[in-house]
Symmetry: D3
Subunit: 281 residues, 6 copies
Amino acid sequence: MLKRNLETFLGCTAEYGEAKLVLFGAPFDSTTSFRPGARFGPRAMRGDSWGLETYSPYQDKELPENKVFDAGDPELPFGAPERALDRIGETAGQILADGKLPVMMGGEHLVTLGALRAAANRYPELHILHFDAHADLREQYLGEPLSHACVLRRCWETVGDGRIFQFGIRSGEREEFVWGEEHVYTRKFDFEGLADVTARLSGKPVYLTVDLDVLDPSVLPGTGTPEPGGASFSELLGAILSLKGLNIVAADVCELAPMLDPSGASAAAACKLLRELLILL
Amino acid sequence: MLKRNLETFLGCTAEYGEAKLVLFGAPFDSTTSFRPGARFGPRAMRGDSWGLETYSPYQDKELPENKVFDAGDPELPFGAPERALDRIGETAGQILADGKLPVMMGGEHLVTLGALRAAANRYPELHILHFDAHADLREQYLGEPLSHACVLRRCWETVGDGRIFQFGIRSGEREEFVWGEEHVYTRKFDFEGLADVTARLSGKPVYLTVDLDVLDPSVLPGTGTPEPGGASFSELLGAILSLKGLNIVAADVCELAPMLDPSGASAAAACKLLRELLILL
Amino acid sequence: MLKRNLETFLGCTAEYGEAKLVLFGAPFDSTTSFRPGARFGPRAMRGDSWGLETYSPYQDKELPENKVFDAGDPELPFGAPERALDRIGETAGQILADGKLPVMMGGEHLVTLGALRAAANRYPELHILHFDAHADLREQYLGEPLSHACVLRRCWETVGDGRIFQFGIRSGEREEFVWGEEHVYTRKFDFEGLADVTARLSGKPVYLTVDLDVLDPSVLPGTGTPEPGGASFSELLGAILSLKGLNIVAADVCELAPMLDPSGASAAAACKLLRELLILL
Amino acid sequence: MLKRNLETFLGCTAEYGEAKLVLFGAPFDSTTSFRPGARFGPRAMRGDSWGLETYSPYQDKELPENKVFDAGDPELPFGAPERALDRIGETAGQILADGKLPVMMGGEHLVTLGALRAAANRYPELHILHFDAHADLREQYLGEPLSHACVLRRCWETVGDGRIFQFGIRSGEREEFVWGEEHVYTRKFDFEGLADVTARLSGKPVYLTVDLDVLDPSVLPGTGTPEPGGASFSELLGAILSLKGLNIVAADVCELAPMLDPSGASAAAACKLLRELLILL
Amino acid sequence: MLKRNLETFLGCTAEYGEAKLVLFGAPFDSTTSFRPGARFGPRAMRGDSWGLETYSPYQDKELPENKVFDAGDPELPFGAPERALDRIGETAGQILADGKLPVMMGGEHLVTLGALRAAANRYPELHILHFDAHADLREQYLGEPLSHACVLRRCWETVGDGRIFQFGIRSGEREEFVWGEEHVYTRKFDFEGLADVTARLSGKPVYLTVDLDVLDPSVLPGTGTPEPGGASFSELLGAILSLKGLNIVAADVCELAPMLDPSGASAAAACKLLRELLILL
Amino acid sequence: MLKRNLETFLGCTAEYGEAKLVLFGAPFDSTTSFRPGARFGPRAMRGDSWGLETYSPYQDKELPENKVFDAGDPELPFGAPERALDRIGETAGQILADGKLPVMMGGEHLVTLGALRAAANRYPELHILHFDAHADLREQYLGEPLSHACVLRRCWETVGDGRIFQFGIRSGEREEFVWGEEHVYTRKFDFEGLADVTARLSGKPVYLTVDLDVLDPSVLPGTGTPEPGGASFSELLGAILSLKGLNIVAADVCELAPMLDPSGASAAAACKLLRELLILL
């Protein structure tokens, strides 16, 4: 008998029961203010992942066959951010409740809030490691508190002062930086100081959120708000691999908008980072 | 002294006071369920309109210099449909209150609801003439009542039975067609019967809403949900020009997503239809 | 427990056992001589099918939930046409052996040969109905007998004289037309005479192969060898719907090369035709 | 010994001495006012012509091997229209002096003026048959008399009243149409009346100029100024084939801007029309 | 009363009278020899600037509200370089006469000549700081002295020996480099030595011209003649910020051809550099 | 008399007899497993080379007029790898037999095997210098031994142990790396150690094969399998220029897929590397 069509991310061949990691997509971009399209991120990452291998020469390791389950995407209502976040939270919450580690493919960055709330619910000591070009610390954007441009501010309302560590930030309003000085740790432009932060976070539960626009647009032009002057692929990969040993309890990779880059190089970068992350975790 | 930069739609050179028509954009697409990008419709229509002339050989008429004022776009909050509709309603309402005729460039089709409510407020007898590929008559979409896929159903809640006349419809759920049979007039696939409807509407206040995907995707591929089997450019232009003499009190042209068509042919079609409409009204 | 990710064509929700039709993809384009990319046809058709409804206003019918099973794609070795055809033949053969009707999404047109051989094996009386811009009747192409440009000639070697009926043909070498006059029925440019042919084929087992480039490139620019002067969407849809009642035992839809049409209109046309075909069969 | 690389238009295999027709390109677009790129027309037409056959099923005829010589492109200085026209005139003039028929691939439409002057020099009775969306009859454009938007007006200065016959015109300033009524024959929108005009031109030397934007943008989106509401491919092909027997002494096909249409469908349409024209002449 | 539509570059909110800087566009590319499209640079820079903030984390400074006035684009005749340069010269001249600093958005690099002449007229001691991939020092190009490939040679005719300082040059004919050794300062490949040059230029009036193709094509693929091996975004930004304190009296940023980069990353790089320059000046 | 159209790579003006190098294309990509299109590499490299100069400021040298002959492309049968390799081998073999150095433009990387076999036939001591992102050392791929993913393994079968030196490798199956340790020299990620290898190869006949995907996708997104984390343009150029003095007897540059990068930056990078290589050899 023929098998039903399945399209998962490369190497996600585990059964749910045995999987340590559960991958899912959050195809939502209704609050994107500049160029939408991040909703197609999960689809592109699954499809283009097959241009890669399951073996990482960086870590000299295969992605084990029984490690990751790809749960597809919950159906998210466009134009209804709060309900979408609830659906994302339910999905992440179930995975956490089953003792597994959720890894989410965005979608715009707002989707992080849904998964973060679920993780914070389970791990009250949760800290956030945040790689991004944008501070995302606004109180509101065009009057809306639930916007991709405010997502870390909303996360801060959940986790509180001293719990958020940002790297690579090179865009924001002056007010975000001023506010941030009192409430979060912000490293502008690059990853300097990451080793110190990693040491401080040792043993604590960490949510890792990667907004792919932390990469320079030469590496990842396919994103809603390209911000020149960012990290090279090797710098971001190095930063991620340096997290080995950290107690990451949930993670996401957001803001790939594949239609904006017909060459597919953006999707390739996203896929390779996700592969490395899945092997690392 | 140098003049400030202005970019209006072609030929919209009137001062506000003297204008009969006021054009504005509604750059919003947060509820688009398939491919977003209609938010860039107004920008593309203004920019690409300069590839046209102000003279129409179809109507043998110029767009008069003192006829149309281009009021730009109200700032609309992405991800907050109800508030966006309120802002659109305020804009359309002010234009109507000033005794002028609002012409809106979408954006996704949901924006029609904002302008329609303002027009119905002023003209309780308002009827709707609707050219579209999709019936847009769903009660809700993924649980949301405020969605582009439900917009005519929401309009019906404002104007009531027997007031909506649809042409060109070639997609929808079976339920929409069944429900529609009792509440609205629906002509599937083409514009047959339009002359009769126009005669019936004679003298009554009419809101004209054109979802550009009523055109075949060969003519207008740059739209969120291309639906093959639609009208040729000449068929749609003919339908619009046949409305001469109708008491149109407000109008819109929606669902141009210019990034989806790098050739610019979609924007050209939208611009030319809008020019003809502005001359006609 | 979460469910594994599935991406099927719209509405293909049946279990294998209950399904009447089995859809599968043949992502192969190694012999394409002009512009490759048809290998991505099945992926694009599955993904973009979700912009449609399961209800057809043309046939006033839903695609039944228990009718179609989507079996995914067999893994085909690029650069090895004979082995690829064998794999396709095995897949189609198993579906036929299970008493079901195979519907294949190409891939370049050569893939038809694999499925056709399986069908002819089961139905020795098999006839072929062929909609295409190109005659595909060459003895060889650049020395190769296994080429998309020769596929109907190869099919003829299986079914013999008087069994192939071509419509819409508007390109080929003079030799193909000359040879064709003795061995196949060829209608140039359009579908005139299709009703007569359908009547002649009544009751006989028919393999239907649709090379999407039978459509005009304005409707379907996303194909390897666009050939201007083709059918409109409505003409091709009408031709397909006119086959109602014919004893079609296998079918395919080939030559969508989605990357060549960034607007997605080509994929939309392919998806809609396939939906109508699945409802019809 | 290996042969040097040649890339000619499909089937242009004649030696210069034996050729009846000489094809050359005019890769110039400096006066294009909207979207440039027609300079790449000749390159695209040569390259993409290989997706076609040398046999026309429309005329049931091959392009003979000894009929057409492809002379490449003269080097034209960008930004210097008068000098570019001189170079084009020299090229066309030499071909005419050698008793051959020049066929030019544009470039923007201004290049017609260079070839037309050469032809008028040799044939003082020259008439012009002009297929276009735009009247191109302006006295000047932004102060410039040498502009693509003025090209037929400049041609008129060479050939005089009653010698220019335009078809398909659907765009222009009112002044162009008013001026045209006294000086040229203009058929708006389509090809009605072409048979009468062809009869009137019988025996007279005719320059045929085809601005490809006479086609609807659905057929040919890859052009600088797409103008919706144009001819289908079959209508234009029919118009061209109806010229059989006319005394055409020079011809051109202009305004393909291939980069604007990544699908290649525009180039395919241009190539096929040129093949038919080369077989016809 | 509604306000007329304005589309300015981000943050250019000053009234003309109060503005210190006046921004304007020069949408001209008629002499571009490879790929045209720089005419759309100003439009793209205005439109895409809204993806940025007015605050620079690099300089820790906002763009003040009363600093910059955006004067739009003078109408430039395509195909008539000398007249276009005159129009540009008039615009820049008026700004300088009003005691303000002109900042021009190209267009192709030839437009620099128009603004440079106006500046040299006012500041006879004018020096030129030139960041570019190409030397642009040819005597003529295809016989034309007014070409983008000759623009610095033409500027030299105005300012004379020892006044031009080039950085980043990595392409040119051998003759340009040989000639340049006697007449201009040329640093090949990078910005080494810029600090020394800046010191030498201290107090002197300086015209800064940035041809964006000095950037590597990975950062800015959207340009007419991409030249691999160029500066990273951070290197160019660093070079510009190092000019703080220099007496820059006019500046331009040229050669963004946005249609060549559908990802928008090129426009984003151009916008961000211009923002930093506007804050710096 | 007019000259026939020629389109060669920039500066390839030599007659065959006098040429030291002979350039030819291998437009074949039938075994590409991810995204096809490398067949258009030679055409794009020839066409876009004209955006460059013949003078290299890196080597301070012109490409001499009598050095390189461009022999065009042999006709290769798609879908028939063995026969295509034979044709390539014949072409390279003839060039070698005439005492000249063949330089091949791919095409997918499998084409290297054809030219390598011809070179090994003439130079039994042949060594291979291989710059690539992928190890290409598989025994077979989807059951096929003749695949781009196996090409260096096939080459090894010809030249044997210790003759292949790979640099830049950052992707492959674990088995390839394990196998490679015994049979070939592999430098992962970059060019470290190249000077040592060059010294070891001194005087020996060397085949240089450059798979352009050794470059980072930011530099060259237009390739079938983009692999993030690669070399910058300057790093690869430096590596190539460091080969000066090596006894290179044949070379190729493969895997440019130009349609995947509409900006043309990928083709520009390929062209510039080839120019530098042609000057160097």
